[in-house]
Symmetry: C2
């Protein structure tokens, strides 16, 4: 356990700082262009002879260790973020830029700049009325944001070096877009009016490039990877469409009352829309009324295109997606392993090249997780060190990413939060605890919720037409709310606030109940805009779905999928944004009430009195609302186009007011959303089938109540260990404040009087954990393949170390 | 190889006929209620002592062998058709009925009766105008068909026996429906008018129960098996729908111009329709025009219901479907294995209990495939007998179902069909052969097809509005047709008609070309109804998709899936039929032009002049055509409902003319088709993903040209073998005509002068073959499990035989 102060790092990094420490090492760094792009190239064969003669430079040694810790931390970060190692900082100057560009403040700035640039379109030319800004204001804001982006890029250039910078494709695209936007913004400022700025559609690139939008980038990559097979099938779809368009034109154009097939162009457009089913059965009706057998044409067409090829599309994307997911998992896993390899090499000393000691590990963690308490750093080390050996072997260290996210808590001696209270109080709380944990209580609550559901339904049904807000708070509302409130209070007191709020379901209950109370208050004080809260009350009924295992599974999977879904949603929004900009530039203000009288969809835009037979009614066509007049309207319009139904009305309306080429915009949008939507479907399918396979393979329901907390690690800390560690920490970083937590451990031991404490580290289970279990066997193969690929380049004499053969020298056991 | 005439069957079946032959066996059959329900119960321990004293009854012995052959054939049939063994005929009387009820004539009768009953609805009460029949005519026809069904059921009763009959659920349901229909048909005949006969919706049961509709039954079973998880998720869907309906009612009902949410019922209906997207964005518009933020309600609703839960539905069904497919494959496989076990026991003799000789095998085949030629019977035996041993072991016999479908052909000595022609002719044909096989020729044809495609497109585009049939035959049509004709002729002569027509693609080319010629003739002779053939000509372009591997895969998979797709389509049609009957009974003649003026969809039914502003136009609403006036219209209407778009117009139209409860019909129909469609999607997904996994696992494109012929077996026949077999056959069945094929083999040998001939047996690859390869490892487990389950009940002394331990007695080597 003890460490000698004079351990020398096996590898020295960022040599400028270490000049004179190890002169033969100094060259190495420059030779292969940067500290440790490939471990294998950097490995120095350990020489277990007498130590070199630089023992005296203690401060310098300390400094070189610190450098190593920092670089190891950077490697581990790169492994975590899936940053390629060729962007690894190569020298102290690059390191400074790297550190500047890799912290949450900088990330936040990146994000805000990206968001600001996108939000600007709310205020630019076809602006949302209430947010309109003068040209010089929004152009100045834009220039400001662009300067920020340029600054970020400069930092990146400093860190990457010019060569790597121009090799990095995404960054180069970003630079070009930046220049273009700069020029345009200045032009706008000078002319004091916005020109046709379709290039604004490229703005999302600044957002996508943010560190925090990694998930969106991954989604985009996945979409692009699924494209080739998708396009193949799409061509098949279009091919049949054209063939049928020719057939349809030949068959139906003699019928003059059929507007859908009178020209070849109309014929193709009609059949394109028919694939989306949006104009069915109307498109069939004129032909059908002439000859009943013409329905065969449409039935055959829909069977082939809609029911066969469209499903084929899904199948192909699903299949590709499956493969891509697995490959992505594999490459992430191997990248992490490689990062750990790199870090490990930097942490071992010349004297003990097979293991990382607590001192070195702690040094690493101080850079990797500066906010982590000393106790947690120590516990993480304990969790890695499963064998109880004095040092971490490489195999131990491979588990780094599994334990790093753990939240540590001492195992409670008693099970209830109220164990320490006086006896009478204890008994009361114990009673409450037993009550809220009893099946009877649970089922009573289910019954109450069910009764409440029926009640609301019946009540609303009785209300029917004569609805008003003030009548929305009958006595039943108050009664049920009281019951729920009492339940929440009982549960919080019975289980303790911590245990209560750690369950997602309880949180849900709590927030719905609180909302209901807020609604009541809003009603009491007549705050009209908040009335809608009252209406959320039926959400309580969702609790009923806890009863059945399948629903629990479904809802839990839903929560697990939520981050991924959100990133997919964001990806979709980015597509929306680009299309919205293009739409606004070309179609702003083209549709209005009573426009489009020359098109076949004039009815949907008409808003005047119409005489039918002998009655006069107001014909209200609301479709003029589906316009591109500002970015918010555009988003709603695009959502309507995504849902697909009746999208051709919007298309035809705009087309009749502009040119035929406008259809290209709508059709492209349809195809793009089809791709994204298919990916979303494939993703949901994949996630669920994966989970179900997982739970089948492991022959257990995925989330039984005990398992709900996900991954659990255990670490036992004895008093001696804690004291020794405290000593060590005091020596390495004398700042006392960071040691409070470790002293806390000792205090807790004193209080409980026991000589050791058990700590539990928990984290929620991620998809990666599931994948680890699912692909168990394949992972071993990948690892084997990975080491085969990496070993041959290295010196064969190093093989022993990587395969963890027992060390040849006894100093390890010091 | 030689057989003694006095082999005695190990097991004797249908003992009445064998009375006196083996008296101790006679009891056995009755004891366990039927010849061989379980092999294990029927196994008699072989006694290799001196043969019993019934050697003399040669004729009787022969007869008992014949009985065994027949029963073995029946077992194998049952294995093939997946008939459960508890319906196995138990005695000669049952056997007679079984044989009567198991031949294509009877099956055909079953099918025709089923179809007749269904087709009757074309002529009954709301009949198709041109097919209307008088009540007494169609009622008499119906009675006739029902009598036929009753007769079929009687035969089944005779064969199954009363006990098994009433245990067989499907048959019992059929009987009940039959009785009901009888009563109703008689009532109709007496009253001379059709009453409300909703029970006609049950008619498809007669069709489904047919032997030939096994695939439909399997689909129905699969649908029912996928139902429980489906219903769970459906409930979740409906739950959210009700919650949002309440919210929507509270939020939007104060807006009086919003007809979609003015009552709770309307609110629920609107949201139900919204899940199908059919009324989007119209349903949002009134609220949206009032307050732009109301779109959030609809976006959230659609995101949850349409994009999440609906996909979840697919995921759950897909998952269940996957599992069900595998289980089905497993149970079919084990059932077949068990059938082979049964048959094997019946074919071995007391003297040689370990193997089946050619004589016995041939006897079996005469019953199993009466039409098979003697040559093919022999070749099948050779194909099974891979080891070349004198007898088939059980392991050999297990391959029975793999070889039974093979089509045998002698391997050609030369490769071309024209090898035997005179030299000059040979050279000419050889030249043509080389030409049509050359890449240059193929690609020239692709270019021609592509040019033709562009030509057609441009031509049609130029034609545009002024289209008429007579101008449809320009000179280009004739030129391209001539090129295609020449190509077909060249290919047929170059490859030989047999080779040419054995490729699906060539068949496709041929038929499209022939159709084009027919169209030309039709045009030349002015046969107007056939004009549409001319229009099919662009289908030629499909050939272009041969170029790319992925398309070949997709199209080939499509052809492979076709039988399954057809059966799914038939299943859908059966659902349609039942719904169509119900629809006709309740909604016939309820909609007509200008009906439904009280509903919100009146516009779609209106067909009068309308004054808009100051213009008068004819407002043509065609939706009255979507009615239930006869079964054909009903089918078209139901197809429109399946496509879902605008389905609510039909629903609201009918509802406004009848009662609110009519909506139940449409909603039920939507949910039912949703189930079936989800199954279809799951099926296509499953099939494609399966195939892609397969080709990935086997690291080869699935259908390279060589592999196109599917499964190939080889069998070499020497002259001696052929002669010996001929002798044997002459002895067993002296009818000369059946031996012609075997004599043909000898003749062919004489002609070619060789002493042996190689025959190739081919069949196309089925999904079962693919599954066999995919689940290779699991299959071995299943087999092991199967034998574990079946062995323990049996006498342990028999283990040796089933595991194929070398026989203890030397007579095997005779």
């Amino acid at each position: 356990m003890e460490d000698t102060d004079d351990d020398v790092p096996l590898i020295l990094t960022w040599d400028d700082a270490n000049s004179g420490l190890l002169s033969e090492e100094t060259e190495r760094g420059d030779e292969n262009g940067g500290g440790g792009y490939d471990i294998v190239n950097n490995q120095v064969i350990p020489t277990p002879g007498p130590p070199p003669n630089y023992r005296s430079h203690n401060a310098s040694l300390q400094q070189s260790w610190e450098m190593n810790y920092q670089e190891a931390a950077i490697y581990l970060q790169e492994g975590e973020n899936n940053d390629k190692f060729f962007t690894h900082p190569r020298n102290p100057k690059a390191l400074a830029a790297y550190l500047f560009a890799h912290n949450h403040l900088f990330y936040m700035m990146e994000l805000l700049t990206g968001v600001l640039l996108m939000v600007l379109s709310l205020c630019e030319a076809p602006a949302v009325p209430s947010l309109r800004l003068d040209v010089y204001v929004h152009a100045t804001l834009e220039l400001l944001a662009l300067v920020m982006v340029a600054f970020e890029l400069c930092m990146k250039l400093r860190w990457l070096g010019f060569h790597t910078f121009i090799r990095h494709k995404r960054t180069m695209v970003k630079t070009c877009v930046l220049l273009l936007q700069f020029v345009e913004a200045i032009v706008v400022l000078i002319r004091q009016t916005s020109h046709l700025r379709v290039t604004r559609a490229l703005r999302p690139i600044f957002l996508v490039d943010c560190r925090y939008c990694g998930a969106v980038r991954r989604n985009l990559r996945q979409i692009f990877q699924s494209l080739p097979p998708f396009i193949d099938i799409l061509l098949l779809l279009l091919f049949f469409m054209v063939i049928f368009a020719i057939l349809g034109f030949c068959l139906f154009s003699p019928n003059t009352s059929d507007p859908y097939f009178n020209t070849l162009e109309n014929s193709i457009v009609s059949l394109f829309v028919l694939v989306t089913t949006a104009n069915f059965p109307d498109v069939m009706m004129p032909a059908y009324s002439r000859n009943r057998w013409s329905c065969v044409f449409f039935i055959v067409y829909l069977s082939i295109e809609l029911y066969f090829i469209m499903n084929l599309l899904l199948a192909v994307v699903f299949d590709t997606f499956n493969g891509v997911e697995k490959m992505k998992f594999k490459s992430l896993l191997l990248h992490k392993r490689s990062a750990i390899d790199h870090a490990f090499q930097l942490l071992v000393s010349r004297q003990r090249p097979m293991g990382v000691s607590l001192k070195q590990f702690d040094g690493l963690m101080r850079f990797y997780r500066p906010r982590m308490s000393s106790r947690d750093r120590f516990l993480t080390y304990k969790a890695l060190n499963t064998a109880g050996a004095p040092m971490l072997s490489l195999d131990d260290f491979y588990k780094f990413y599994e334990v790093i996210g753990l939240k540590w808590k001492a195992r409670r001696s008693g099970e209830h939060w109220f164990d320490d209270l006086p006896h009478t109080t204890f008994l009361i709380f114990k009673g409450i605890n037993l009550l809220v944990k009893s099946k009877a209580f649970q089922y009573t609550m289910y019954v109450v919720v069910a009764v409440n559901g029926v009640w609301i339904l019946v009540e609303t049904y009785m209300l029917n037409s004569g609805f008003s807000w003030s009548r929305m708070v009958p006595w039943s509302y108050i009664i049920f709310l009281t019951i729920y409130g009492v339940e929440v209070l009982l549960k919080i007191t019975g289980l303790g606030p911590l245990a209560y709020f750690s369950s997602g379901w309880n949180l849900f209950d709590f927030s719905v109940t609180v909302f209901a109370f807020l609604g009541l208050i809003a009603l009491a004080f007549d705050m009209e805009p908040f009335y809608f809260i009252v209406v959320l009350r039926p959400l309580q009924l969702l609790r009923l779905f806890k009863i059945k295992q399948r629903y629990r599974n479904v809802l839990d999977t839903m929560f697990e999928l939520f981050p991924r879904m959100a990133s997919l949603g964001l990806t979709l929004i980015i597509f929306y944004y680009s299309f919205a900009i293009v739409g606004m530039e070309f179609f702003a203000e083209v549709v209005y009430p009573n426009c489009c009288n020359t098109s076949t969809v004039a009815d949907s835009y008409r808003q005047i009195n119409v005489t039918i037979g002998n009655r006069t009614v107001l014909d209200e066509g609301y479709y003029y609302l589906n316009n591109f007049n500002n970015i918010l309207s555009s988003f709603v319009t695009l959502f309507e186009l995504t849902v697909v139904n009746n999208w051709y009305i919007t298309m035809e309306g705009v087309t009749s007011m502009t040119t035929h080429w406008s259809r290209l915009y709508f059709m492209t949008f349809y195809i793009v959303t089809m791709v994204v939507m298919t990916i979303i479907v494939a993703f949901i399918l994949d996630a669920f089938v994966f989970r179900m396979n997982y739970s089948r393979k492991n022959k257990e329901p995925l989330l039984d109540p005990e398992d709900e907390n996900g991954i659990v690690f255990e670490a036992e800390v004895s008093r001696d260990e804690a004291l020794a560690t405290l000593e060590l920490y005091k020596k390495t970083c004398p700042g006392l404040s960071s040691l409070n937590s470790l002293q806390g451990v000792l205090l807790a031991m004193d209080r409980s009087g026991s000589s050791s404490l058990v700590y539990l580290g928990r984290r929620s289970r991620t998809k990666s954990d599931l994948s680890m279990k699912m692909y168990e066997e394949e992972i071993q193969e990948w690892y084997a393949e990975y080491s085969r690929e990496n070993l041959p380049q290295s010196n064969r004499s190093l093989v022993g170390r990587e395969l963890d053969i027992p060390p040849p020298c006894p100093e390890h056991e010091s």
